[in-house]
Protein backbone atom coordinates (compact mmCIF):
# COMPACT_ATOMS: atom_id res chain seq x y z
CA UNK A 1 0.00 0.00 0.00
CA UNK A 2 1.80 3.11 -1.09
CA UNK A 3 -0.13 6.33 -0.54
CA UNK A 4 -0.92 7.17 3.03
CA UNK A 5 -4.44 8.19 2.04
CA UNK A 6 -5.12 4.78 0.58
CA UNK A 7 -3.82 3.18 3.75
CA UNK A 8 -6.02 5.48 5.80
CA UNK A 9 -9.01 4.71 3.58
CA UNK A 10 -8.56 0.97 3.83
CA UNK A 11 -8.17 1.32 7.56
CA UNK A 12 -11.27 3.43 8.08
CA UNK A 13 -13.52 1.35 5.89
CA UNK A 14 -12.17 -1.93 7.24
CA UNK A 15 -13.01 -0.88 10.76
CA UNK A 16 -16.56 0.06 9.91
CA UNK A 17 -17.34 -2.92 7.68
CA UNK A 18 -20.44 -3.99 9.56
CA UNK A 19 -21.86 -0.48 9.94
CA UNK A 20 -21.28 0.09 6.24
CA UNK A 21 -23.17 -3.04 5.32
CA UNK A 22 -26.05 -2.27 7.64
CA UNK A 23 -26.44 1.24 6.32
CA UNK A 24 -26.10 0.19 2.69
CA UNK A 25 -28.82 -2.40 3.16
CA UNK A 26 -31.04 0.08 4.95
CA UNK A 27 -30.76 2.58 2.12
CA UNK A 28 -30.99 0.31 -0.87
CA UNK A 29 -32.44 -3.09 -0.04
CA UNK A 30 -36.02 -1.82 -0.48
CA UNK A 31 -35.14 -0.58 -3.98
CA UNK A 32 -33.58 -3.90 -4.92
CA UNK A 33 -36.50 -5.88 -3.52
CA UNK A 34 -39.11 -3.76 -5.28
CA UNK A 35 -38.63 -5.60 -8.57
CA UNK A 36 -39.35 -8.93 -7.01
CA UNK A 37 -36.92 -10.70 -9.29
CA UNK A 38 -34.91 -12.39 -6.55
CA UNK A 39 -35.31 -13.55 -2.97
CA UNK A 40 -34.32 -11.22 -0.14
CA UNK A 41 -31.74 -13.69 1.15
CA UNK A 42 -30.00 -13.78 -2.22
CA UNK A 43 -29.96 -9.98 -2.49
CA UNK A 44 -28.54 -9.55 1.01
CA UNK A 45 -25.89 -12.07 0.07
CA UNK A 46 -24.96 -10.01 -3.01
CA UNK A 47 -24.64 -6.78 -1.01
CA UNK A 48 -22.47 -8.36 1.64
CA UNK A 49 -20.33 -10.33 -0.83
CA UNK A 50 -19.56 -7.25 -2.90
CA UNK A 51 -18.75 -5.11 0.10
CA UNK A 52 -16.44 -7.80 1.44
CA UNK A 53 -14.56 -8.35 -1.75
CA UNK A 54 -14.24 -4.58 -2.25
CA UNK A 55 -12.89 -3.99 1.24
CA UNK A 56 -10.62 -7.04 1.06
CA UNK A 57 -9.02 -5.99 -2.20
CA UNK A 58 -8.65 -2.31 -1.18
CA UNK A 59 -5.62 -2.73 1.11
CA UNK A 60 -3.81 -4.93 -1.42
CA UNK A 61 -4.44 -2.80 -4.50
CA UNK A 62 -1.92 -0.01 -5.01
CA UNK A 63 -4.12 2.01 -7.26
CA UNK A 64 -7.51 3.62 -7.70
CA UNK A 65 -7.59 2.57 -11.32
CA UNK A 66 -10.44 0.02 -11.57
CA UNK A 67 -9.10 -1.57 -14.74
CA UNK A 68 -5.76 -2.44 -13.13
CA UNK A 69 -5.00 -6.18 -12.74
CA UNK A 70 -4.90 -5.79 -8.95
CA UNK A 71 -8.63 -5.17 -8.88
CA UNK A 72 -9.31 -8.37 -10.78
CA UNK A 73 -11.08 -10.20 -7.91
CA UNK A 74 -13.68 -7.43 -7.77
CA UNK A 75 -14.12 -7.40 -11.55
CA UNK A 76 -14.54 -11.17 -11.63
CA UNK A 77 -17.16 -11.00 -8.90
CA UNK A 78 -19.02 -8.21 -10.71
CA UNK A 79 -18.85 -10.07 -14.04
CA UNK A 80 -20.46 -13.14 -12.51
CA UNK A 81 -23.08 -11.10 -10.67
CA UNK A 82 -23.89 -9.06 -13.77
CA UNK A 83 -24.39 -12.16 -15.93
CA UNK A 84 -26.52 -13.73 -13.19
CA UNK A 85 -28.70 -10.62 -12.93
CA UNK A 86 -29.05 -10.46 -16.73
CA UNK A 87 -30.48 -13.96 -16.68
CA UNK A 88 -32.84 -12.99 -13.87
CA UNK A 89 -34.18 -10.10 -15.92
CA UNK A 90 -32.63 -7.04 -14.29
CA UNK A 91 -31.88 -4.04 -16.49
CA UNK A 92 -28.24 -2.93 -16.84
CA UNK A 93 -29.12 0.35 -15.08
CA UNK A 94 -30.32 -1.56 -12.04
CA UNK A 95 -27.14 -3.58 -11.86
CA UNK A 96 -24.92 -0.51 -12.27
CA UNK A 97 -26.98 1.42 -9.70
CA UNK A 98 -26.33 -1.39 -7.27
CA UNK A 99 -22.61 -0.57 -7.48
CA UNK A 100 -23.09 3.21 -7.45
CA UNK A 101 -25.34 3.02 -4.42
CA UNK A 102 -22.37 1.96 -2.30
CA UNK A 103 -21.10 5.53 -2.54
CA UNK A 104 -23.70 6.91 -0.15
CA UNK A 105 -22.77 4.92 2.96
CA UNK A 106 -19.07 5.14 2.02
CA UNK A 107 -19.11 8.94 1.86
CA UNK A 108 -20.93 9.07 5.22
CA UNK A 109 -18.10 7.06 6.81
CA UNK A 110 -15.40 9.04 5.04
CA UNK A 111 -16.90 12.41 6.00
CA UNK A 112 -16.77 11.30 9.61
CA UNK A 113 -13.22 9.93 9.35
CA UNK A 114 -11.81 12.93 7.50
CA UNK A 115 -13.86 15.57 9.30
CA UNK A 116 -10.70 17.38 10.36
CA UNK A 117 -9.50 17.85 6.79
CA UNK A 118 -12.01 18.78 4.10
CA UNK A 119 -9.29 18.90 1.44
CA UNK A 120 -8.27 15.33 2.15
CA UNK A 121 -11.91 14.28 2.28
CA UNK A 122 -12.53 15.82 -1.14
CA UNK A 123 -9.46 14.07 -2.59
CA UNK A 124 -10.30 10.64 -1.23
CA UNK A 125 -13.99 10.80 -2.02
CA UNK A 126 -13.18 11.84 -5.61
CA UNK A 127 -10.87 8.85 -6.03
CA UNK A 128 -13.37 6.44 -4.51
CA UNK A 129 -16.06 7.90 -6.73
CA UNK A 130 -13.96 7.27 -9.84
CA UNK A 131 -13.27 3.75 -8.67
CA UNK A 132 -16.91 2.88 -8.11
CA UNK A 133 -17.93 4.61 -11.35
CA UNK A 134 -15.51 2.37 -13.19
CA UNK A 135 -16.93 -0.74 -11.59
CA UNK A 136 -20.51 0.31 -12.26
CA UNK A 137 -19.78 0.88 -15.93
CA UNK A 138 -17.91 -2.43 -16.09
CA UNK A 139 -21.06 -4.25 -15.02
CA UNK A 140 -22.92 -2.60 -17.90
CA UNK A 141 -20.30 -3.82 -20.34
CA UNK A 142 -20.44 -7.38 -19.03
CA UNK A 143 -24.24 -7.23 -19.15
CA UNK A 144 -24.11 -6.24 -22.82
CA UNK A 145 -21.70 -9.03 -23.62
CA UNK A 146 -23.78 -11.69 -21.92
CA UNK A 147 -26.92 -10.48 -23.72
CA UNK A 148 -25.07 -10.64 -27.01
CA UNK A 149 -23.97 -14.18 -26.19
CA UNK A 150 -27.58 -15.19 -25.48
CA UNK A 151 -28.73 -13.72 -28.80
CA UNK A 152 -25.97 -15.48 -30.70
CA UNK A 153 -26.87 -18.80 -29.11
CA UNK A 154 -30.55 -18.34 -29.85
CA UNK A 155 -29.76 -17.59 -33.48
CA UNK A 156 -27.84 -20.82 -33.68
CA UNK A 157 -30.69 -22.75 -32.11
CA UNK A 158 -33.14 -21.19 -34.54
CA UNK A 159 -31.01 -22.30 -37.45
CA UNK A 160 -30.87 -25.85 -36.10
CA UNK A 161 -34.56 -25.98 -35.27
CA UNK A 162 -35.94 -24.98 -38.57
CA UNK A 163 -34.26 -27.38 -40.96
CA UNK A 164 -35.39 -30.93 -40.21
CA UNK A 165 -35.23 -33.52 -42.97
CA UNK A 166 -37.72 -36.34 -42.57
CA UNK A 167 -38.06 -39.60 -44.41
CA UNK A 168 -41.57 -39.97 -45.82
CA UNK A 169 -41.04 -43.36 -47.40
CA UNK A 170 -38.15 -45.58 -48.24
CA UNK A 171 -36.18 -43.51 -50.70
CA UNK A 172 -38.30 -40.36 -50.30
CA UNK A 173 -37.25 -37.45 -48.12
CA UNK A 174 -39.27 -34.39 -47.16
CA UNK A 175 -37.77 -31.01 -46.33
CA UNK A 176 -40.42 -28.68 -44.87
CA UNK A 177 -38.97 -25.17 -44.89
CA UNK A 178 -40.31 -22.68 -42.38
CA UNK A 179 -39.36 -19.02 -42.42
CA UNK A 180 -37.19 -16.99 -44.74
CA UNK A 181 -34.42 -18.62 -46.67
CA UNK A 182 -31.22 -16.56 -46.45
CA UNK A 183 -27.72 -17.65 -47.43
CA UNK A 184 -26.85 -18.91 -43.94
CA UNK A 185 -29.94 -21.09 -43.73
CA UNK A 186 -29.54 -22.32 -47.28
CA UNK A 187 -26.11 -23.58 -46.33
CA UNK A 188 -27.54 -25.46 -43.34
CA UNK A 189 -30.45 -26.75 -45.42
CA UNK A 190 -28.16 -28.03 -48.16
CA UNK A 191 -25.85 -29.73 -45.71
CA UNK A 192 -28.62 -31.51 -43.79
CA UNK A 193 -30.41 -32.56 -46.95
CA UNK A 194 -27.28 -33.94 -48.61
CA UNK A 195 -26.19 -35.73 -45.47
CA UNK A 196 -29.61 -37.33 -45.15
CA UNK A 197 -29.43 -38.40 -48.80
CA UNK A 198 -26.16 -40.14 -48.05
CA UNK A 199 -27.48 -41.71 -44.85
CA UNK A 200 -30.72 -43.06 -46.32
CA UNK A 201 -29.74 -43.51 -49.97
CA UNK A 202 -32.87 -41.62 -50.96
CA UNK A 203 -33.48 -40.88 -54.63
CA UNK A 204 -36.23 -38.30 -54.17
CA UNK A 205 -36.54 -35.19 -52.04
CA UNK A 206 -39.69 -33.12 -51.66
CA UNK A 207 -38.92 -29.53 -50.68
CA UNK A 208 -42.03 -27.97 -49.22
CA UNK A 209 -42.13 -24.19 -49.15
CA UNK A 210 -45.57 -23.67 -47.63
CA UNK A 211 -43.85 -22.06 -44.67
CA UNK A 212 -41.71 -19.68 -46.69
CA UNK A 213 -43.54 -16.33 -46.58
CA UNK A 214 -41.94 -14.61 -49.56
CA UNK A 215 -40.02 -15.83 -52.54
CA UNK A 216 -37.80 -13.28 -54.23
CA UNK A 217 -34.95 -13.80 -56.69
CA UNK A 218 -32.51 -14.60 -53.87
CA UNK A 219 -34.77 -17.21 -52.30
CA UNK A 220 -35.44 -18.72 -55.72
CA UNK A 221 -31.70 -18.85 -56.35
CA UNK A 222 -31.11 -20.61 -53.05
CA UNK A 223 -33.83 -23.12 -53.80
CA UNK A 224 -32.39 -23.87 -57.23
CA UNK A 225 -28.93 -24.29 -55.71
CA UNK A 226 -30.30 -26.82 -53.27
CA UNK A 227 -32.02 -28.70 -56.08
CA UNK A 228 -28.78 -28.71 -58.12
CA UNK A 229 -26.74 -29.98 -55.20
CA UNK A 230 -29.22 -32.78 -54.50
CA UNK A 231 -29.16 -33.72 -58.16
CA UNK A 232 -25.39 -34.02 -58.05
CA UNK A 233 -25.85 -36.55 -55.29
CA UNK A 234 -28.21 -38.52 -57.48
CA UNK A 235 -31.50 -37.37 -55.94
CA UNK A 236 -34.31 -35.65 -57.80
CA UNK A 237 -36.22 -32.84 -56.18
CA UNK A 238 -39.87 -31.89 -56.23
CA UNK A 239 -40.83 -28.47 -54.93
CA UNK A 240 -44.25 -28.34 -53.30
CA UNK A 241 -46.36 -25.93 -51.29
CA UNK A 242 -46.39 -23.23 -53.93
CA UNK A 243 -49.10 -20.73 -53.14
CA UNK A 244 -50.90 -18.85 -55.94
CA UNK A 245 -49.09 -15.59 -55.18
CA UNK A 246 -45.75 -17.37 -55.20
CA UNK A 247 -46.53 -18.87 -58.59
CA UNK A 248 -47.21 -15.38 -59.93
CA UNK A 249 -44.04 -13.99 -58.39
CA UNK A 250 -41.96 -16.79 -59.86
CA UNK A 251 -43.22 -16.12 -63.37
CA UNK A 252 -42.89 -12.35 -63.03
CA UNK A 253 -39.30 -12.74 -61.84
CA UNK A 254 -38.52 -15.00 -64.74
CA UNK A 255 -37.19 -17.83 -62.56
CA UNK A 256 -36.49 -20.90 -64.65
CA UNK A 257 -38.09 -23.96 -63.14
CA UNK A 258 -38.26 -26.06 -66.30
CA UNK A 259 -36.02 -28.76 -64.88
CA UNK A 260 -37.82 -29.00 -61.59
CA UNK A 261 -41.15 -30.67 -60.91
CA UNK A 262 -43.43 -28.42 -58.92
CA UNK A 263 -46.67 -29.19 -57.15
CA UNK A 264 -48.99 -27.02 -55.13
CA UNK A 265 -49.39 -29.42 -52.21
CA UNK A 266 -47.13 -31.80 -50.35
CA UNK A 267 -49.76 -34.52 -50.80
CA UNK A 268 -49.61 -34.29 -54.58
CA UNK A 269 -45.82 -34.26 -54.48
CA UNK A 270 -45.81 -37.38 -52.33
CA UNK A 271 -48.05 -39.21 -54.80
CA UNK A 272 -45.73 -38.26 -57.67
CA UNK A 273 -42.75 -39.47 -55.66
CA UNK A 274 -44.35 -42.84 -55.01
CA UNK A 275 -45.28 -43.19 -58.67
CA UNK A 276 -41.68 -42.51 -59.65
CA UNK A 277 -40.60 -45.29 -57.34
CA UNK A 278 -42.91 -47.56 -59.30
CA UNK A 279 -45.47 -47.98 -56.55
CA UNK A 280 -49.20 -48.05 -57.17
CA UNK A 281 -51.72 -46.92 -54.64
CA UNK A 282 -54.96 -48.83 -54.31
CA UNK A 283 -57.85 -47.92 -52.09
CA UNK A 284 -59.99 -50.77 -50.75
CA UNK A 285 -63.50 -50.58 -52.16
CA UNK A 286 -66.14 -49.49 -49.67
CA UNK A 287 -68.41 -52.34 -48.63
CA UNK A 288 -71.56 -52.33 -50.76
Amino acid sequence: MNTPEQARLADVLGQHRDTLLAEWLRLHLPVALRRGLAMEGEIREQFSAFLNIFLDTLPEANTFDWSHPEWEPVRDFLAEMSAHRARQGYTPIETATFVFSLKEPLYARLREAFSHSPAEFAEVSWKVSLLLDGFGLYTTEVFQKSRDAIIARQQEELLELSTPVVQLWEGVLALPLIGTLDSARTQVVMESLLQKIVDTGAGLAVIDITGVPTVDTLVAQHLLKTVAAARLMGADCIISGIRPQIAQTIVHLGVDLTNVTTKSTLADAFVIALQRLGATITMPKAAA
Binding site: Q187, M190, E191, I197, G201, G203, A230, L232, M233, G234
Partner: protein, 119 residues
Protein backbone atom coordinates in the same frame (compact mmCIF):
# COMPACT_ATOMS: atom_id res chain seq x y z
CA UNK B 1 4.52 -42.73 -64.80
CA UNK B 2 1.42 -43.06 -62.68
CA UNK B 3 -1.83 -44.05 -64.28
CA UNK B 4 -5.31 -44.27 -62.92
CA UNK B 5 -6.43 -47.89 -63.14
CA UNK B 6 -9.49 -48.68 -65.23
CA UNK B 7 -11.43 -51.80 -64.31
CA UNK B 8 -13.91 -53.66 -66.43
CA UNK B 9 -17.21 -55.05 -65.18
CA UNK B 10 -19.12 -56.69 -68.03
CA UNK B 11 -19.91 -54.03 -70.59
CA UNK B 12 -18.92 -51.20 -68.30
CA UNK B 13 -15.71 -49.55 -67.20
CA UNK B 14 -15.07 -48.37 -63.68
CA UNK B 15 -12.58 -45.63 -62.84
CA UNK B 16 -11.77 -44.71 -59.24
CA UNK B 17 -10.03 -41.38 -58.74
CA UNK B 18 -8.03 -41.51 -55.55
CA UNK B 19 -5.16 -39.11 -56.07
CA UNK B 20 -4.86 -35.45 -56.87
CA UNK B 21 -5.25 -34.92 -60.56
CA UNK B 22 -2.80 -32.85 -62.43
CA UNK B 23 -2.72 -32.04 -66.17
CA UNK B 24 -0.69 -34.96 -67.36
CA UNK B 25 -2.62 -37.46 -65.28
CA UNK B 26 -5.93 -36.14 -66.59
CA UNK B 27 -4.79 -36.35 -70.21
CA UNK B 28 -3.42 -39.86 -69.66
CA UNK B 29 -6.73 -40.90 -68.13
CA UNK B 30 -8.69 -39.53 -71.06
CA UNK B 31 -6.35 -41.32 -73.48
CA UNK B 32 -6.61 -44.63 -71.62
CA UNK B 33 -10.35 -44.38 -71.20
CA UNK B 34 -11.13 -43.62 -74.82
CA UNK B 35 -8.83 -46.47 -75.94
CA UNK B 36 -10.51 -48.94 -73.60
CA UNK B 37 -14.03 -47.86 -74.59
CA UNK B 38 -13.25 -48.59 -78.21
CA UNK B 39 -11.25 -51.75 -77.54
CA UNK B 40 -13.87 -53.36 -75.34
CA UNK B 41 -16.98 -51.78 -76.88
CA UNK B 42 -17.93 -50.51 -73.47
CA UNK B 43 -21.50 -49.26 -73.08
CA UNK B 44 -20.84 -47.08 -70.09
CA UNK B 45 -18.28 -45.55 -67.75
CA UNK B 46 -18.60 -45.18 -64.00
CA UNK B 47 -16.36 -42.55 -62.44
CA UNK B 48 -16.05 -43.01 -58.69
CA UNK B 49 -15.04 -39.85 -56.84
CA UNK B 50 -15.88 -40.99 -53.31
CA UNK B 51 -12.24 -40.59 -52.31
CA UNK B 52 -12.13 -36.93 -53.28
CA UNK B 53 -12.72 -34.45 -50.44
CA UNK B 54 -12.04 -31.48 -52.63
CA UNK B 55 -13.06 -30.96 -56.21
CA UNK B 56 -11.95 -27.82 -58.02
CA UNK B 57 -12.99 -26.37 -61.34
CA UNK B 58 -10.19 -28.29 -63.09
CA UNK B 59 -11.48 -31.68 -62.03
CA UNK B 60 -15.03 -30.56 -62.75
CA UNK B 61 -14.08 -29.63 -66.28
CA UNK B 62 -12.07 -32.81 -66.70
CA UNK B 63 -15.05 -34.94 -65.72
CA UNK B 64 -17.35 -33.03 -68.09
CA UNK B 65 -14.88 -33.43 -70.97
CA UNK B 66 -14.34 -37.12 -70.30
CA UNK B 67 -18.08 -37.69 -70.29
CA UNK B 68 -18.41 -35.82 -73.58
CA UNK B 69 -15.64 -37.92 -75.14
CA UNK B 70 -17.26 -41.11 -73.94
CA UNK B 71 -20.61 -39.94 -75.33
CA UNK B 72 -19.05 -39.43 -78.76
CA UNK B 73 -17.99 -43.06 -78.54
CA UNK B 74 -21.56 -44.01 -77.58
CA UNK B 75 -20.81 -44.75 -73.94
CA UNK B 76 -22.70 -43.05 -71.13
CA UNK B 77 -20.98 -41.71 -68.06
CA UNK B 78 -22.22 -41.73 -64.50
CA UNK B 79 -20.34 -40.09 -61.65
CA UNK B 80 -20.79 -41.75 -58.26
CA UNK B 81 -19.78 -41.20 -54.69
CA UNK B 82 -19.89 -37.43 -54.56
CA UNK B 83 -19.52 -36.25 -50.98
CA UNK B 84 -22.01 -33.62 -49.69
CA UNK B 85 -19.31 -30.97 -49.24
CA UNK B 86 -18.14 -31.54 -52.80
CA UNK B 87 -21.69 -31.21 -54.15
CA UNK B 88 -22.14 -27.92 -52.30
CA UNK B 89 -18.83 -26.60 -53.61
CA UNK B 90 -19.66 -27.50 -57.19
CA UNK B 91 -23.04 -25.79 -56.93
CA UNK B 92 -21.49 -22.67 -55.36
CA UNK B 93 -18.86 -22.60 -58.13
CA UNK B 94 -21.63 -22.86 -60.69
CA UNK B 95 -20.22 -26.06 -62.19
CA UNK B 96 -23.30 -27.94 -63.21
CA UNK B 97 -21.49 -30.91 -64.77
CA UNK B 98 -24.05 -30.90 -67.57
CA UNK B 99 -24.18 -34.01 -69.66
CA UNK B 100 -23.04 -36.06 -66.68
CA UNK B 101 -25.45 -38.13 -64.69
CA UNK B 102 -24.79 -38.77 -61.05
CA UNK B 103 -25.70 -41.44 -58.54
CA UNK B 104 -25.14 -41.97 -54.87
CA UNK B 105 -23.11 -45.17 -55.05
CA UNK B 106 -21.79 -47.77 -57.50
CA UNK B 107 -24.89 -49.96 -57.18
CA UNK B 108 -27.23 -47.14 -58.16
CA UNK B 109 -24.76 -45.96 -60.77
CA UNK B 110 -24.78 -49.34 -62.48
CA UNK B 111 -28.58 -49.43 -62.35
CA UNK B 112 -28.62 -46.03 -64.08
CA UNK B 113 -26.20 -47.17 -66.75
CA UNK B 114 -28.25 -50.28 -67.41
CA UNK B 115 -31.40 -48.27 -68.09
CA UNK B 116 -29.43 -46.75 -70.89
CA UNK B 117 -31.29 -44.15 -72.92
CA UNK B 118 -31.09 -44.54 -76.69
CA UNK B 119 -29.15 -41.81 -78.49
Amino acid sequence: MERIPILRLGDYLIVTIQVDMHDRLAITLQDDLTERIVKESAKGVLIDISALDVVDSFIGRMISNTAAMAMVLDAQTVVVGMQPSVAITLVELGLTLSGVRTALNIEKGMALLKQRQPR
